[in-house]
Amino acid sequence: MSQVVAENISVKFTRHKGEPRTALAETDLAIEEGDFVCLLGPSGCGKSTLLNVIGGLTVASTGTVTVGGQVIANPGPDRGMVFQNYSLYPWLTVRGNVEFGLRLNNWPAQRVRTVAGELIDLVGLTDYADQYPKVLSGGMRQRVAIARALALEPKVLLMDEPFGALDAQTRSRMQELLLDIWARKRTTVLFVTHDIEEAIYLADRVLVMSTGPGRIVEDFRIELPRPRVADVVASREFTEYRRQMLSLLRH
């Protein structure tokens, strides 16, 4: 059985004036364990909505989501989430932020310390472990958020345009870092983006979504070899994937 299964998910939002709006229409989705899947689509097509339904933050009007065989209703530590605006706790240091989830779940102090230390090392922030988020750059903040989400060893990592607010260079370094982490941890990842290159570069599968109403219209399997290096974007296969997705998104 797949790690994440969404069946017949619809979400309707009531609106200030007029009819309720269908943000997501009867969507099915299955993600295998260890896969890196990107949700790609134009603004407003329901990417965040779908991700939040799986995260348990948005209640779907119809359908069910199962993660690791269990039907989910609420947010929980089996689904780590990373948001675009980091949402770190400003009163905690980098270490405090990463340890936060572990402490909530009453892990023994010794283990909290080692696990957090390893993760901070993994995202390359050992020098900043005792600093407050205030002094970190955007990229560093997002690395803390990733470490924090990974600390509880979630079954799936849900990321909503995590690099959307970063400049191009930081963004590409963060992509490499994420692939590196993923290669070591083999966590299942569902990654929302509206950037075609980002999706192809990162993913095993790219699910292309479309608006009116929001739905998944195509499922690309990306057969580019791993580990991927930055110049894979120049390859013929990459260009071909991009061409197909572009024409799909133009419609």
Binding site: G76, P77, G80, S87, G164
Partner: protein, 294 residues
């Protein structure tokens, strides 16, 4: 915690655009540039310009006061000169035991204020975070806010008699309602994303409340205390209106009765100074308590 409201993530908190507004070049900007900065919204000033402007403001005020009074434009009976007020203040402190009045008022203001805070913080936090609690008491709270504290003086005299408790109760009533509502707003405005991320890390309602909501709003609450203690000082006269024998308020009221304008102004200045001092104390404490914000 089930059935959370759909969460809004479409408007990420973008970093504010950097540029000219941020005062990118800090080292000695030209005069034209400095002047320009004075009229550009949100432009940062250099520390030197800020102090110069502050001193200029205070200097202009006292200069105008000095010229108007010493120059004979205004009768000393209406407005004595700052020098006369200062010497009167020194005389009050050294010869008339004004320090006792200052202490009596300070004690009242602090007692009333801290009692109000002790109650307003829990009430505000509950109203801001629990819809049921909000529905239950917000209508009463927001109505009570419009009742003038001075209107309660007669009532408090009937209930408590003419004594210290009655005076403290005036300060309490004057600060409790605005403070509770302020804290309710602060608690309610903790960002949804912060709550959501705590839920996804496995927080239950109790943990969410004590480990996220409370720490997230405490800095703003301390700031609200700073603002409302200012309000508390403004009630000192009302509090001492009836039956006080010592206090800055009563000193001012008595001076008015005997037409001692310099003493009235000295008293007012003194309340002002104490207000500024408490403000500084709160700002200082804020920096010490919440180093992660600075």
């Amino acid at each position: 915690m089930s059935g959370l409201v759909p969460h809004l993530s479409q408007s990420p908190a973008k970093a504010p655009a950097r540029g000219a507004l941020d005062g990118a070049d800090k080292q000695s900007p030209s005069w034209a540039r400095r002047l320009g900065d004075c009229f550009r919204p949100r432009a940062e000033l250099t520390t030197a310009s800020r102090w110069t402007l502050s001193l200029l403001g205070v200097g202009l005020f006292f200069g105008a006061w000095l010229i108007a009074t010493e120059g004979g434009l205004i009768q000393p009976f209406f407005l004595p000169s700052p020098i006369a007020v200062l010497s009167r203040l020194v005389a009050m402190i050294t010869q008339e035991g004004f320090l006792i009045d200052i202490w009596a008022s300070t004690f009242r203001v602090m007692s009333g204020f801290f009692l109000a805070a002790a109650l307003a913080i829990p009430v505000g936090v509950l109203v801001g975070n629990f819809a049921a609690f909000r529905a239950l008491i917000e209508p009463l709270l927001s109505t009570a806010r419009y009742l003038p504290a001075s209107a309660f003086v007669p009532l408090m005299i009937i209930w408590l008699g003419i004594n210290e408790e009655q005076k403290i109760s005036v300060i309490f009533i004057g600060t409790f309602f605005p403070l509770a509502l302020l804290i309710a707003d602060i608690s309610a405005s903790v960002s949804k994303d912060m709550l959501n991320s705590a839920y996804t890390l496995g927080a239950n309602s109790r943990q969410l409340f004590f480990r996220v909501l409370i720490p997230a709003c405490i800095p703003a609450i301390v700031d609200a205390l700073r603002v409302t203690i200012g309000i508390a000082w403004t009630y000192v006269i009302v509090a001492e209106l009836v039956g006080a024998d010592r206090g800055m308020g009563i000193a001012i009221l008595q001076a008015q009765r005997f037409l001692l304008t310099d003493q009235v102004i000295a008293g007012i200045v003194c309340v002002g100074i104490l207000g500024v001092l408490t403000d500084f104390a709160f700002r200082f404490a804020h920096r010490k308590l919440f180093p992660y914000m600075y």
